[in-house]
Every structure is written in C-alpha cells, then in structure tokens.
C-alpha cells in the first residue's frame, strides 16, 4: 500500500517537474541522458519562438488565448515569460504606440513563425510530461507494448 502511494507521488512529481522544466521529470527518474535530449528538444523551439516574436505579444493571453493555452504546457517557461510580458507592458505604457509597435511587436512573417514555434514547443512538452509519468508508473515509455513472450503467455 505504502509503495503504491510512493509510486503515485513519484509519478505526479515527475509530471509536475516536466511541466516546470522540460526533461526534469526524466532527470528525477534517473534517465539523465534522455532528460537532456528532451530538455534541448523542447527548449530550443520555445526560446527561438520567444526570441523571434518578442516576449510582449508572444506570451500574452490577451493577444491569443489559444496560443497561450498551448504555451502553458511548458509551464515554467511560460509563467516566467508572462511575468516579463506584463512587466514590459506596464513599463512601456507611456510610449507612443508607433514606437511600441516598432520595438516590441513582431510583424509578419516573424509573428507567424514565433506562434508556430511556441505552440509546437508547448505541445511537445505535453508528450514529455506524459512520457515522464508513464516511465515513472510502468518503467516504460509512453507507447510501450508488453514483451511478446508475456503477451503470448497472457493469451494462453
């Protein structure tokens, strides 16, 4: 019973850690090389998207709530960027609107590329979260199959 609870706690921990920092859940489970691979594969598109789009409008639920929902799947990054975006909006509120647009808001095609990168990074992190939880619970990847021999034994 206690080990079941421990297992559940560990699974939830792995999921939450992956949400906060991509790959951290795998790191907790001891799969450190995989953790680094997943960290890089999610962080690279996320921060490329923020760099291309600029933090003010790219991570802003008032601009695009569905994009923000996808971004929130990489929760640690998006929370940080949302605080930065809100702060920047307050600090530049007195600027002329043309100046604000010119300096802080990406235009086509950069805005499109940034949205695609950010949404993809968030959705990729959903896969990473689910995989960390699966590996914690079953000791196997998300889409694991039972070994042939045990499947055959179960069938007979």
């Amino acid at each position: 019973m206690a080990s079941d609870v421990d297992q559940t706690v560990r699974t939830v921990q792995a999921g939450i850690l992956s949400w906060v920092l991509p790959g951290a859940g795998h790191f907790l489970l001891g799969q450190r090389a995989l953790a680094w691979v997943l960290f890089l594969a999610v962080s690279l598109p996320y921060w490329t998207g923020v760099a291309i789009g600029g933090v003010m409008n790219s991570v802003n639920p008032r601009v695009n709530k569905w994009l923000f929902a996808a971004e929130m799947l990489a929760g640690g990054y998006t929370s940080t960027c949302f605080v930065a975006s809100s702060t920047l909006q307050r600090q530049t509120a007195s600027m002329p609107i043309e100046e604000r647009f010119r300096r802080y808001i990406a235009i086509y095609p950069g805005s499109d590329v940034a949205q695609i990168y950010l949404a993809t990074a968030g959705l990729l992190n959903l896969l990473v979260i689910l995989d960390a939880m699966s590996r914690s619970q079953y000791g196997a990847p998300t889409f694991h199959r039972p070994p042939e021999s045990s499947a055959g034994a179960a069938a007979t």
């Binding site: 600029g54 993809t120 889409f143």
Partner: protein, 87 residues
C-alpha cells in the same frame, strides 16, 4: 519608470524583449529546426534506451520534411489546376 530603464528599453536591443526580424525567404527554412525537434521528441518518447536514437530521429526528420514537401507540391498543383480550369 526610471530614466535609465527608459533609455534601456528605448535604445538597446535586448534578446527576447525586442523581436528578431525574419525575412520572408527565411520563413520556409524555419521548418527544418522545428521538424528536427519534433522528430527527436517523437522518437525519444518511444525509446527505452538512447541507442540508435540519432538515426531514427534523422529518419523521422526526413519523413516529416519529405511529407511536407509532397503536401506543398500537391497544394501547388491543385492551386494551379483551379486557376487554370475554374477561373
């Protein structure tokens, strides 16, 4: 806002705060790194070990890029067809 902060925000280019301009021609090329990241995650979450991951990720990357190219060609042909016969 302090004057120093105002000067910083108005005059200095700051990564992640000021957007990087993307030229229209670069837009298509931006598919490649994104497809590579998708391929790596897709393969990594199916792997029990990292052995062979780079090779399988490369194959998936080529599949994605090839599939996108075929889709682009297909839609281009459809577009030309519509322009030629329906207008």
């Amino acid at each position: 806002m302090t004057s120093a902060m105002h000067w910083l925000l108005a005059e200095v280019w700051i990564p992640f705060v000021n957007p990087i301009p993307v030229r229209p021609g670069v837009r298509l090329l931006m598919l490649l790194p994104l497809a590579l990241c998708v391929a790596v995650v897709y393969r990594a979450i199916r792997a029990r070990t990292l052995r062979g991951l780079p090779w399988y990720a490369l194959l998936t990357f080529l599949n994605i890029v090839g599939g996108m190219a075929l889709l682009a060609i297909g839609f281009y042909v459809l577009h030309e067809f519509v322009l030629h016969f329906w207008t």
